[in-house]
């Protein structure tokens, strides 16, 4: 049976990155996660370097990334690119530009220029300063958790550290009644949005690094409950990474992930899901 590395070698796009499916154009999110999953694999040195080159070459002038080089607007993929870069290529100049972009990305309430103004009231509400999917929009749990994971250890500017603090307030405010996190920002839905494993796992990974005391036992039970209810590879893999980050090991989940590997070495024939499964079996991103 081919290994997951063989699968990733065979599905690398000619430009160097990975799409969400074999043969698809390179996209930042799957490329970044694949780079994270293979960064210590001796067999993958060549594909890693080619992938990293694509990632670096697709960075926009403003320091951010769109879905790929065809997309002129920088957005949430920037956080994934920065996570991949800081774990794999920490001295690269691209990181400085990416940190700058992510620190000052505009929200629904604040423009980029307003965020640069030292007089701006940084004590504003958490939702005003957390992270949106795309510039100028409202904030949500997933891009906020990714931004925290990306900026953690890199954020030095006042605005970045303030926004990180706002993000933790935002996590606190948007924890669901049964623990864990869903989409966040439930306002437009006028109803309770239930937690799901993937977003809960991302927030737990972010909190574990910076504010581990903020994690509550019901966050973990919400995570495990959704992993049982929706045992897709992404839930299981991200959940297992979060649990391992918190020092918990779950052999059953690990076995479930292994059992779901396909004959071609992949999970779901999707490089993004495959990368997550590989990171879960390794234990970290």
């Amino acid at each position: 049976m081919p290994s997951s590395i063989d699968y990733l070698i065979s599905t690398q796009h000619e430009t160097g990155g990975w799409g969400y499916s074999p043969g698809h154009k390179s996209v930042v999110e799957p490329t970044a996660t694949v780079l994270l999953s293979i960064r210590d694999e001796p067999k993958a040195i060549n594909i890693f370097q080619k992938g990293m080159n694509w990632l670096l070459s697709s960075q926009h002038q403003d320091g951010g990334w769109g879905i790929n080089e065809d997309d002129p607007e920088s957005g949430w993929h920037t956080a994934w690119a920065l996570i991949a870069l800081k774990h794999s290529n920490p001295s690269n100049d691209s990181i400085v530009r990416a940190v700058e972009w992510l620190s000052y990305v505009s929200t629904y309430q604040f423009t980029r220029n307003e965020l640069r103004d030292p007089k701006i009231p940084m004590s504003d509400t958490a939702v005003a300063l957390s992270w949106p999917w795309l510039p100028g929009q409202g904030c949500w749990i997933e891009p906020t958790a990714l931004a925290v994971l990306a900026l953690e250890g890199l954020a030095q500017s006042q605005v970045a550290t303030t926004r990180m603090r706002a993000a933790f307030d935002y996590f606190h405010q948007n924890r669901t009644p049964i623990g864990g996190w869903g989409l966040g920002n439930a306002g437009p839905y006028e109803t309770v949005v239930l937690p799901d494993a993937y977003r809960t796992a991302l927030v737990l990974m972010a909190l574990a690094r910076v504010q581990p005391k903020e994690i509550q036992s019901n966050d973990l039970s919400a995570l495990r409950q959704d992993m049982q209810q929706d045992p897709c590879i992404l839930s299981l893999s991200s959940g297992l990474v979060a649990l391992k980050t918190l020092g918990e090991y779950d052999h059953d989940i690990s076995s479930q992930i292994t059992d779901n590997q396909l004959q071609d070495g992949s999970w779901n024939n999707n490089p993004f899901f495959t990368a997550w499964a590989m990171m879960a079996l390794r234990g970290n991103i």
């Binding site: 879905i67 997309d71 999917w133 006028e190 109803t191 239930l194 897709c232 999707n270």
Partner: protein
């Protein structure tokens, strides 16, 4: 040297033109992102629908998902004058919801299976089923839990998670997206000859109802716009529904109203045994008829009233075929937003 002079008449003309210019500029600047010209154009187009042929909506009574759905759909297809799909590439877009009662809020898998059978019988060139969940990062897990997987496997039909398909920039049309010139949409969506939108007939806490136009929001890819599809919140759900429809290939509507949903849908609604199947090639007309059969006035459902006013489909002249609407009339409990 004499001073340049201007006659009184010329002065009045200039003043009049200037006033008109200032007035038009004021109107243009105070009609939001759409502009006065778009509003005028939409209004005229809406009125011109009165001169166009009527839209046909086929209605059938089906009391159970165990009925012969293929036969029912075949009859509806015939009486509704659906375009010839022979050799065409078709994307079936069911409505697969996230959490809660999957079978209640999502399009029933037997309806999707029956549509697939009918399309194969009609000799279509290619059929895929696609959906992009607004909540879940893995739509395929919803497919597996909804029972749709068996229908797909038994007909060897591919499922496309529209959140992760390759994306193409598509020019927005008709002015509903303000300053947004392009939408990034999945390749399978853009390259289909027809999209068959198969929503579950239900109430929706925000849009009022989920019918075939609202169901199209699932074609917006999360990989570009996030989860939920955040362009909806920024542009507004109603102009997004109307504008998205106009940026897509032609849409055929099939409404799964065998068991509908009322009240605080889609997550917390309650089932209604309605026994309705509706088919048509004008989604606005189909949605208007179905909303009325739910007991709602379209004046309370902004994306339908807006599309009707703007002539995005035929709303002025709709003819139903098959079962009389009187035999299918219900009064659904409204969602809190209505």
């Amino acid at each position: 040297m004499s001073k340049p002079t201007i006659s009184r008449r010329a002065f009045i003309r200039l003043a009049l033109l200037g006033g008109i210019g200032v007035g038009l500029t004021y109107i243009q600047q105070n009609t939001g992102d759409y502009g006065a010209l778009n509003l005028l154009r939409w209004s005229l187009r809406g009125q011109l629908q009165r001169l166009r042929p009527p839209a046909i909506v086929g209605l059938a009574k089906c009391s159970s998902y165990d009925d012969d759905l293929v036969s029912a759909l075949r009859d509806l297809w015939r009486i509704s004058y659906i375009p010839d799909l022979h050799g065409k590439s078709i994307l079936i877009k069911p409505n697969l919801l996230d959490k809660g009662n999957y079978n209640l809020a999502s399009t029933n898998h037997k309806v999707v299976g029956a549509v697939i059978e009918l399309l194969l019988e009609l000799g279509v060139g290619k059929v895929v089923v696609g959906e992009g969940s607004a909540f879940r990062r893995d739509t395929y897990s919803i497919v597996k839990s909804s029972g749709l997987i068996q229908e797909l496997d038994s007909h060897s039909i591919k499922f496309i998670d529209l959140n992760y398909d390759e994306l193409m920039p598509v020019r927005t049309r008709d002015g509903w997206f303000g300053n947004i010139d392009n939408l990034w949409l999945p390749r399978y969506v853009c390259e289909a000859d027809f999209i068959i939108s198969i929503p579950k007939l239900k109430t929706h806490h925000w849009a009022g109802v989920t019918l075939s136009l609202k169901n199209l929001l699932g074609t917006i890819p999360g990989s570009r716009y996030g989860w939920p599809k955040n362009i909806i919140h920024m542009n507004g759900i109603n102009p997004t529904i109307i504008g998205l429809y106009q940026s897509l290939p032609p849409v055929i509507s099939i409404i799964d109203g065998i068991i509908g949903m009322e009240g605080n849908g889609p997550l917390y609604g309650e089932p209604v045994k309605h026994g309705l199947l509706a088919v048509g090639s004008d989604p606005l007309a189909v949605d208007i008829i179905c909303a009325q059969l739910m007991g709602f006035s379209i004046n309370n459902i902004p994306h339908l009233s807006g599309a009707a006013w703007a002539g995005v489909g035929q709303a002025k002249r709709i003819e139903t075929r098959g079962i009389s609407p009187n035999q299918l009339q219900k009064q659904y409990k409204a969602p809190p937003s209505l």
